[in-house]
Amino acid sequence: MRVMVIIKANKDSEAGVLPDGKFLTEMGKYNEELVKAGVMLAGEGLYPSSKGVRVRFSGGKSTVIDGPFTETKELIAGFWLWQVKTLEEAVEWVKRCPSPDNMSPDVEGEIEIRQVFEAEDFGAEFTPELREQEERLRAEIDELNKKKS
């Protein structure tokens, strides 16, 4: 399954305070570990909400609201997309993440894991599907070469 791992904002990230070097090094190592384990699909860090906007839809009209937004704990500071087998695997990986609260004592960190909706494609009972002829041919090159050799 694919999960989105959401790093919640805190007052430092919202203030645009960059993490210290030690934290960045640890985070770099952690990211590398995720790549090496074949778990990491993508990941990005976000600017504070002061650089963001919201578009609110109401009564058939849309209104643009400039950041920053106040409810810090509801905001996000970054995300990863991971490929894991189970939600528990994602939890185990998140537990290994360098804790953002190391940065300063009065900062709390929170990371949320959400499953990406993949509808019909990766369920246990995958619906039967059929070939892409041209593609299938290529897929069998190895097979045939193997039989020949």
Partner: protein, 423 residues
């Protein structure tokens, strides 16, 4: 936390840690089979203890420590029995091994080297193809025998036996736990890549059975490929294989309609292609190309797949480039199947009659005699030329040759379609 919750956590920890634990043990014990058994013992210990004691803070270190203790015990016992000098040396190494309480303190490079040794051992040519696949999924993927059996639709005892035999073969053949060097490396790496791609293909286009896709196998192959790409970042073919799998996997959700009916490549809604996987695939292909040299068979196949991925509509497909890539492929990996593909590409670039001429030349090829895609392609081309009566025969022939129920259905439908069109 209930026992079943704990078991799920243990499964997750096992998936993350097992390959590293087995690889580390195998370095000390010089026996992959034994290493795997000791790692399994540690897993059993966790299944017994953790539901009561709770999951330790560092579960990976716990498993590693238990497995290492068993390894040391074993080495001491064998030392008592044999008293060989080499064992003393080995025990020294083992003591150092013990001193590191968990693998995090081992240099990352060492862990990587051990994993790579494990990859090459599991895919050793002394093993049959089936054995390599089973052992790779078991040792590197951390899959249970039952999971492997279900993925390959074979009884569990068959897989269990396959693994036991494979481990015995490795021991009897004295296969060293090492990364091959020099000239041997290329051939051995090819074997590793083949194993991974066979796993992927087994999931992507099942060769038998009613279901066409078993996504767990695709995901496992992709994971193994991605891991290998980081272990051997300078091998272009590894990136080529990863690129090929990423791009093929990107089409997974576009390949089936709402009621499970098949959708061919050119009828697929390209908006359903997974752009993240395409981007990853194109990135991996770029890594392969940037390493320089002539592209290998996987990178070339990836480049062909990339031509489709880049085309926003079927009309935008760069067929002349695809045909040229098949030319290159035919030169380094000559095969009638590649020729057949080349014929398809050329027919798309320059018209069905060009393709048909090439395909007709292949009908005499003995290795394609029972290959259902030859009549299937021929049928396609005949339809395009309006020769429906001949096409019916080809589709029926192809349907009789395929082992896959779904594909047979599609081919028979196409045959029926030809009858309608010619009427």
């Amino acid at each position: 936390m209930t026992t079943s919750d704990t078991h799920r956590v243990i499964d997750a920890v096992w998936r993350i840690e097992s390959a590293r634990i087995i690889a580390g043990l195998a370095r000390i014990l010089r026996d992959v089979g034994l290493a795997e058994e000791l790692a399994q013992d540690a897993l059993v210990a966790a299944l017994e203890k953790w539901p009561e004691s709770g999951v330790p803070d560092n579960p990976g270190a716990w498993l590693t420590a238990v497995a290492k203790h068993r390894a040391i015990d074993l080495l001491r016992k064998s030392k008592l029995i044999e008293r060989k000098h080499e064992d003393l040396g080995r025990e020294l190494e083992a003591e150092q091994f013990m001193a590191s309480t968990n693998f995090d303190t081992d240099a990352e490079d060492d862990v990587g080297d051990d994993l790579l040794r494990l990859v090459f051992t599991a895919c050793h040519p002394v093993l049959s193809s089936d054995a390599r696949i089973a052992l790779t999924l078991r040792l590197l993927g951390g899959l249970s025998t039952d999971e492997i059996a279900r993925a390959f639709l074979v009884p569990e005892p068959t897989v269990a036996q396959r693994i036991v035999r494979a481990k015995r073969t490795l021991t009897e053949a004295h296969v060293p736990f090492e990364v091959p060097r020099g000239d041997a490396l290329a051939a051995r790496l090819a074997s590793v890549l083949q194993v991974i791609y066979l796993i992927f293909n087994e999931g992507y286009t099942a060769t038998a059975g009613d279901n066409w896709m078993r996504p767990a196998l695709c995901e496992e192959a992709l994971r193994l490929g991605r891991i290998l790409a980081e272990l051997t970042p300078k091998e272009p073919e590894v990136h080529g294989l990863v690129a090929l799998m990423e791009i093929q996997a990107s089409r997974a959700r576009a390949r089936t309609g709402p009621s499970g009916e098949p959708i061919l490549l050119f009828d697929q809604n390209r908006a359903h292609w997974d752009q993240l996987l395409i981007r990853r695939g194109l990135g991996a292909l770029k890594r392969a190309e940037q390493l320089g040299g002539t592209l290998g068979p996987y990178a070339l196949q990836a480049a062909i797949t990339a031509c489709h991925a880049r085309a926003r509509t079927p009309d935008e497909t760069d067929w002349p480039r695809i045909a040229a890539l098949y030319d290159a492929l035919a030169q380094i990996a000559p095969s009638p199947v590649v020729d057949l593909n080349r014929a398809v590409a050329l027919s798309m670039a320059f018209g069905p009659s060009v393709g048909l001429e090439l395909v007709d030349a292949l009908t005499a090829e003995p290795s394609l005699k029972n290959y259902h895609l030859l009549p299937s392609v021929r049928g396609d081309l005949l339809v395009k030329l309006g020769r429906f009566d001949e096409a019916v025969v080809e589709f029926k022939r192809a349907a009789a040759l395929t082992r896959n129920a779904r594909e047979r259905e599609l081919l028979l439908e196409r045959a029926a379609g030809c009858v309608r069109d010619s009427a």
